[in-house]
Amino acid sequence: AQSVSQHNHHVILSEAASLELGCNYSYGGTVNLFWYVQYPGQHLQLLLKYFSGDPLVKGIKGFEAEFIKSKFSFNLRKPSVQWSDTAEYFCAVTANNAGNMLTFGGGTRLMVKP
């Protein structure tokens, strides 16, 4: 079955540590890729997206993600995390061979220790 996998369910980092959250998908064909973030007590909001072009995309708050088509991956990175990055992060994919419905991964809870 088509799916989106986030390998790390919980991540704990100290401030200034580097972050990489994994995301893999199993869809073929043309895909559009997203990372959404949910800060404590808030609703989901878009962090960054990839539709086409440069596979390295920059998002808000210093986040970036790289689309590697050969690996079916769209990992999220940030060189130096802050306490305010504590949140849950969701990778999501739409695929033209899956009705273009947005499918989410299981989420990764990030806790940044001050």
């Binding site: 989106v4 989901l44 878009l46 739409t94 273009n100 299981g106």
Partner: protein, 113 residues
């Protein structure tokens, strides 16, 4: 402020009762969606509507129904609630269906006892 309004924000419900979660958007978006969020499972699509007057089933539609009488409103109904429907429900919308950025509501936390 443009966006999505969900109601109620939280509800405790006895099993077997009927419940409707309301969702209203003022952005004139054509597409609307209902997701449920469960720990470790992320968000799963329950039902969607690509435009007013049409609806479709998502990944986990059983036990839920929706209607889309107009562009703004997209209520989700649980005809006879069961404990496994305890979850946080998010309504979302996008300008068009497909590869679009979604705008989410604040969520409705439902507990079925």
């Amino acid at each position: 402020i443009a966006g999505i309004t969900q109601a109620p924000t939280s509800q405790i419900l006895a099993a077997g009762r009927r419940m409707t979660l309301r969702c209203t958007q003022d952005m004139r978006h054509n597409a609307m969606y209902w997701y449920r969020q469960d720990l470790g499972l992320g968000l799963r699509l329950i039902h969607y509507s690509n435009t007013a007057g049409t609806t479709g089933k998502g990944e986990v539609p059983d036990g839920y129904s929706v209607s889309r009488a107009n562009t703004d409103d997209f209520p989700l109904t649980l005809a006879s609630a069961v404990p496994s429907q305890t979850s946080v429900y998010f309504c979302a919308s996008s300008r068009e269906s497909g590869a679009n950025v979604l705008t989410f509501g604040a969520g409705s936390r439902l507990t079925v006892l």
